[in-house]
Structures are given as structure tokens and as C-alpha cells.
């Protein structure tokens, strides 16, 4: 494949990710902070827009697909993870980041999250967890707390919520982190660690939704989040400890890199027939002689 001729690939600015399209999110939406943080993280990691593929699911966050620069794909509800995985395995020279909401990622497309963690595709997945379906105007999502009255649930939700981090850690992911949409600095640092990680990275962003989530607004989270970096001797290699500390979502909510497997082997490095391959799948599309394989049938 022909590569772009970036004059100075290491020279990247925040403005490079600027888009002229105007954001359409509600005032004080958590998405503003998340967008700013991902731009900062990409710039800090010296990744140019033309060397990244940002993949968006459907929902409020997905409406930001054209409000940031980079190569971008805005797909179908719940399907961002397999799309991003297919892209990532094809060309590891392009950084692939996937964004999804709590509805698409933990409801309709939850199986894709399981597969991606098991296969360890080299995708950084950022979960916008705002505890509701925002774009369809405030219905319950798989993370909405039980009993809360939502659009289409006038007497409160009758199902119990999923605990995203408990669920993800049970699958022994290669990387699991949590951050908060009200803290751009923390998000940036967490995203940066995620971008440097080899393999599938899961980052849950506790996202405020001022319009539909009145139970856990920005201030509610702000009072409760606690960075694991501030815990003495916290060892992110200890998954048992991560499971313990991730559990509390009511009083003291742990944020930061909760777990990282230092021996993570990404998907393409697990492929027995490609261990010696020096090229990417995108570089290899050319006529292949089938003569030898055909002769085996004679």
C-alpha cells in the first residue's frame, strides 16, 4: 500500500484534529470532555490524524464522528468493535480506536466485546457510559440503575444493571481502565496509557448526561471518584485486586488503570502462520498462484 508522505510525522498539533463541523451535544455533555481528551492523548502520543482510524458506534458520542479529524468510520449500532477489529488486523501501522456507548456495547453488541477481549485485537475501546440511551431520548440502558424512572419505564426499571468493569474483568482482559468525563487531565493520561498498550484495551468513561441522567450527575461522580494512583502500592498487574477495587460504584469509585497484563500478546502475534510476516495484510493484495494447491487435487 502507498503510504502518505507526511512531511514531519512527529510534528502533530491539537489543531490538526480540529473539524469545522459544530458539535451538536447538549450543554455540559460529557462528550465534550472526552473529545478534548482523546485529541490531547493522540497529540501527546504523536499520532497524526492520517495515521489513525477512529471508529464510532451509534448514539450521542457517534454524532461526534465528523466533529474531529482523522480517518473515521461511523457504523451501526452495537457493531463498532468487530468493525474496528477487522480494520486493526489489516494494518497495524494505523492506530485503531473504537468508541461505543453503554447501550450498543453492553446490550445489543455485548457479544462483540466478549470476542474482542478473548481474541485481544489491537483496538483501544472507549466506553461512553452515561447510564442511558441518550439519542433516543432517555430510555434505560443496561447500566441504568434498577428502579429509576426512564422514558418507556414509567414505574422504574425492572431489570438489574450490568456492572461493566466486573463483567470485563471476569473475562481477564489485557487492559482495563476507568476514568471520568469531568476530569480531562485524567482521561488524557488514561487514554495515553491505553494507546501505548499492546492488545485490546478497555476504558470505561463514567460520563455525565445532564439531560437524561439526573441520578448521577457530574458533581455526584466528582465527589466519589478516586484515582488508584493515589492508593499506596496499587499493583495493576493483580487482577484479583482490580476486581475488588472496581466493585464499588456508589461510595468510592476507583478510576485509573485498574488492570494491565504485562504479557499481553496481541491477536496478530498469535497467528501461527504469520509469525514471520513482515508486512501488513493491506500490503499483500496481489495475484497469488494457485497452481501448487490445485495440483494437490490431481
Amino acid at each position: 500500500m502507498q503510504d502518505c508522505n507526511c512531511n514531519n510525522p512527529l510534528h502533530v498539533h491539537f489543531k490538526d484534529y480540529f473539524s469545522e463541523n459544530i458539535n451538536t451535544w447538549c450543554t455540559n455533555c460529557g462528550n465534550y470532555g472526552i473529545q478534548a481528551a482523546i485529541k490531547r492523548a493522540l497529540v501527546a502520543e504523536k499520532i497524526k490524524p492520517c495515521r489513525t482510524l477512529l471508529c464510532f458506534d451509534i448514539g450521542c458520542h457517534g454524532n461526534g464522528a465528523d466533529k474531529i479529524d482523522g480517518f473515521r468510520f461511523h457504523g451501526l449500532h452495537g457493531r463498532v468493535i468487530p468493525f474496528a477489529s477487522g480494520a486493526a488486523v489489516s494494518n497495524r501501522k494505523i492506530k485503531v480506536i473504537a468508541f461505543g456507548g453503554d447501550g450498543g456495547s453492553l446490550g445489543e453488541g455485548v457479544n462483540h466485546l466478549v470476542s474482542a477481549i478473548r481474541s485481544n485485537y489491537e483496538v483501544l475501546f472507549i466506553l461512553h457510559n452515561n447510564l442511558n440511551y441518550g439519542l433516543t431520548v432517555g430510555q434505560a440502558s443496561p447500566t441504568t440503575k434498577a428502579g429509576v424512572k426512564m422514558n418507556a419505564s414509567p414505574d422504574g426499571i425492572s431489570s438489574d444493571p450490568i456492572h461493566p468493569m466486573r463483567f470485563v474483568l471476569s473475562l481477564h482482559p489485557a487492559f482495563a481502565a476507568r476514568t471520568f468525563s469531568g476530569d480531562i487531565h485524567h482521561m488524557t493520561k488514561t487514554f495515553q496509557t491505553g494507546l501505548r498498550h499492546k492488545g485490546f484495551g478497555f476504558i470505561e468513561v463514567l460520563q455525565s448526561c445532564p439531560t437524561f441522567n439526573h441520578m448521577t450527575p457530574h458533581e455526584w461522580y466528582q465527589k466519589r471518584v478516586k484515582d488508584v494512583n493515589k492508593i499506596k502500592n496499587y499493583d495493576p498487574k493483580n487482577i484479583g485486586k482490580a476486581m475488588q477495587i472496581a466493585e464499588d460504584l456508589e461510595t468510592q469509585i476507583a478510576i485509573g488503570v485498574l488492570y494491565q497484563n504485562p504479557d499481553s500478546v496481541p491477536f496478530m502475534e498469535r497467528q501461527a502462520n504469520r509469525l514471520k510476516a513482515k508486512t501488513e495484510l493491506t500490503d499483500e493484495v496481489r495475484q497469488f498462484s494457485t497452481e501448487k494447491l490445485f495440483d494437490a487435487f490431481r
Binding site: 500500500m1 502507498q2 503510504d3 502518505c4 508522505n5 463541523n21 497524526k48 490524524p49 492520517c50 495515521r51 489513525t52 482510524l53 451509534i58 464522528a65 465528523d66 479529524d69 482523522g70 480517518f71 473515521r72 468510520f73 461511523h74 457504523g75 451501526l76 457493531r79 468487530p82 468493525f83 474496528a84 477489529s85 477487522g86 480494520a87 486493526a88 488486523v89 489489516s90 494494518n91 494505523i94 457479544n111 462483540h112 466478549v114 470476542s115 496478530m268 497467528q271 501461527a272 502462520n273 504469520r274 510476516a277 495484510l281 493491506t282 499483500e284 493484495v285 496481489r286 495475484q287 497469488f288 494457485t290 497452481e291 501448487k292 494447491l293 490445485f294 495440483d295 487435487f297 490431481r298
Partner: protein, 584 residues
Amino acid sequence: MLDIKRQVIKIAGESGQGVNSIGEIVAKAIKKSGFHTFGYREYPSLIKGGHAFHQIDFADHPINSSSRATDVLVCFSRVSFHAYLPTLRSSGQVIHMLPQLELTDTERQLVREKKIKIGYLAAGDLAQEAGGKTIMANVVMIGALWKLMALKLEPLIEVVRSEFAAKPNVIEPNINCLKKGHGLKLKDLETLKITFKPQASCQHDALLTGNHLIALGAMASGIRAYFAYPMTPSSSILSYMADTYHETGMLVKQIDDEISVAQMAIGAMFMGTRALVATSGGGFDLMTESVSLAGMTETPFVCILGQRPGPATGLPTWTSASDLNLALYAGHGEFPRCVIAVSNSKSAYTVIQNAFNLAEKYQIPVIVLSEKQIAESLFQVKELEDNVTIERHLAEGKKLTTLESGDRYKNTKSGISPRWLPGANEATFVANSDEHAADGSVTEDSEAALTMYSKRLRKLEFLRDELPDPVLVGPQKSVLTFVSWGSTRNTISDVIDLWNKAHPKKSVNLLHYEYIYPPKTSKLLDLIAAAQPLVLLENNAFGQLGALLTAHTRYQFSDKLLKFDGRPFFVEELIEYLEAKLKY
């Protein structure tokens, strides 16, 4: 009835008795003896038990279809004896290994009327006598079959040697079993009268399934990733891709569900490699939202849809051509697509290569229909056709360096906009499942939406112009023309050869659709204008190709020959149809 000029061997037994592997050995050895073969399988959707067969038709001319009737039935199990005895032709013969086999009154009458000969071998004991194990009984049976066919044993020994090459310690016992069977006096049976001569030119041919050919064609076209969830009749593409991945270096990955399969392929194609997926109707149902996504984002997508009878789980291991409508209409919204159907060994290899070129040129989903009858039947092939040149239609050179974001979905005359890959240029864009402007940015403006909608649909007109016309198989002039698609071509082609030689004044031909959508109608309209009698021939109940052609020509097919019992058209069926239709 017309002499069908072929011999038919049916190897039958329970699933799990090695029916298919023995069938393939027999087919290869008959081919090596100098004949043209066609191998057809019927088997149930279970691992052990039931009854299954592998049928080998052979002749002195190329054949690609099956006969309904059997000349020699080789039986490994009681159930299969009772199931397939009625398929024997007059004077047909049975070799079985079933002690104390009892026939019903009806069967005795059938045997009398058809003068069927039945021979019993204590094949298990004979295998042990030959120094083999009881499980080699079926090898003794094919030794006896060779004696019955009066063919030389060497080609069969050669095939057995190469089949067991990985297990050298079982080669000699198997060959001893073959010789044991071949040395027997088959007192109740009669040497088969093969009236045609073998040809040395066949010996080096290849025997492979339609799925092998599709996989090879895909490899030739440069695919570098194969994603699939197993589903009959497409599963063997996955197995073959995996078994050969050290040679091809391709990424081959079994995925947890068909939605992910389609999405991963679209992701891979968007990033810029070539990825293939294959499934059957039920799996394709799950992919339909992704087909729509490929249409909207103008991302190339190629899917093999191997058909079997539905609805729902249907007849999982049987054949059908009932998913044309699914391929034509799958996915919400209106967008351009291409639907192609493979038919024979040649098209299985080449069509898939064209599919990738078309998908990349027009940036559309291309659905390639196959059928169990093509996917799993054994075709005899001399050489592969020349490869189709890879045409990717990506922006390159100076054009690539001058691109701007707004070029990606630029409104052009043909509707085709420049396409480039992530990382190929600093001009970025968004591929958007929402309606969008030229750089992919979302828009809900009526004029902009109409422009983009029309741009996409315009591609269909240019695609229609580029696609090949349906082909006329047989003579230019005929008293009757079949109109069909898919594997029906193979049976009708074989029948056309026999029929037209026997009845030159009442010759028939076939208008065969390989490239189905967008439909090409001029050849059909010529036939309609000339008042040519037309017969629609399809392996489904609705006459789905007929309905599509009616919609585009207003011609109503009054004559239809439709079959939808899970079986392909057999040679005798079409001959009987013609004899009745053309008053013989």
C-alpha cells in the same frame, strides 16, 4: 428413454462409515482409469447413523450432473440398502456386506421386475483374512467393485497409497484388502458392461469441490483474510482456507457470529486489504444490516451465500436455489449491489475474482450465490482458467497526492468517487452510515441528501452496462429455450448434448444467467420478440429469477419447471420433461 451414456456407482452407508472418503477414493480411481466423473453427495445433518451416499457418475465425455438411477449400489449398512434399492436401474446390481439380509415383499418384487442382482460379501471376515482390521471391510468392498467393473487395480492402489500417505502403517493392510476383494468370484453378479472407452487425457485431471474452486479463486484474487462462522454448505471453505494458511500466509479466523464476520470483513476492506466471508441463508440473514452499511458507506464487501433449503434450519445438508430474493433484497434502504451466481467449476473459480474487482470498482456489496450442489459436489477439472487481473481502482500516484477530503464522496457522472485508504493520504474523511456530504460529514439537508442518494444509485446503471450478458448454451436456434441460473446449468447442459444429438430437428438450448443483478435483459427480450418458447428452470418454488426478469421485461413465464425438494435436477428428469413436452 434416451440412453444417458454414463455409468453410475453409488457408495452408500451410515454417516460415520466413511461413505464420503470411500466415495472420493472411488471417484479418483475411476478418473485415473481414464473417465470423466461427477461426484454427488447426499447425507443427513448428523454425525453418526442415518443413511448417506456418494454417487459417482462417469462417462467418456465431460459431465457435471447426476443420474437419478444407479447401476451399481455398494452398501455398507442395512438402512442404506433399503433406502437406495429402489434407485437401481433395470439389471442394476448390489454389493453388500450385510449377513442375513431380509428383503420385504415389495423389495423382492422390485428385484424380480428389474432383474436386479444382489451379491453378498462377508467383507469384515475377508478383511481380517487379508491381514487387515474389520473396519477395512469397505476397502474389500471396493476391491470387489473393481472386479465387477473389470478395471485395472493399479490406479485404485495408487489412490489408496496417496490417501493414506500420512499413515504408512495402514497402507499395506488396505492394499491387501483391496486385492482380497478384487480376487473374489462374484457368483451372483455380472461384469459391468462399460460401453465407452477410457482416455489417457483424463488421468491427470483434478477432482475438487465447488468450495475448493471458490476458495482457490479468492486466493488468486489476492484475498488476505477469511472470516467465517461455520454453516453448511459453506463450512468447507473455512476448513480449506485454514488447512492451507501456511501456504497462503492468509489470516483465517473463525468468528463467534455472522454479524461480526460481516463487520470484520467490512473493517478489513475499509482499511484496504481484500477479505472474504461465506455463509448460508441463516447466517446471511444476520449480515443484512452490514450489507446495508457497505452500501451506504460505499465500502466494498464480498460475501458467498451458499444456499440450502429453508426456511429456518430447513434441510441443512441438501440443495436449493431459494435465496436469490434474499440476496437481491437484503438490507434496509435502497442502494446499489451486485448479485452473481456461480454454476460450474469454471465460474466457481473466476466469478469470485470478478466479484472483488466489481466490489472495489463500484464500492458496493457483491453477493455471490452458490448452492450445496456446487459447494460439495466433486467436479473434474483439467486446468484452472487464467486468473482475472486484480483491479483495485484505488486512487494512486499524483491523483492520490492531490486529493482533498471532499473527494471521497464527490458527486461524479458515474456515481463512483475516488477511494483511498487510511494512511494513504493526509486528506482524511469520515465514512458515515448517516446520510452525508462529500467529505462524509453528516447532513439532513434535502438537496444534499438527494444528491448523495442519486449518486449512489447511478452506479447501478454503469454497473449494468459493464456486466456480461447471460450466455446462450447450446445451438443458436432451437425449438425451446430454458432460462435458468446456478447449478441447474450443469444438468441442462449435459441433457442438451444428449438430446440435441438424438433429436437434431428438435434441439433445445439454455439462456443462463450468471450475473443476475442488475439484470441484463436484451438477449431475453430478443427471444421474447421472436416468440421463442421459454421454460423457466429453477431450484425453488417461487421462480425467483423469473420474477426478477418479469419485473424488468413484463414477460410472464407461463412454462416453469421448478424443483424444491432439496435435490438437484437429475438428468432423467429433464429428459422425461423434454420427451413429454416435445411429444416423444
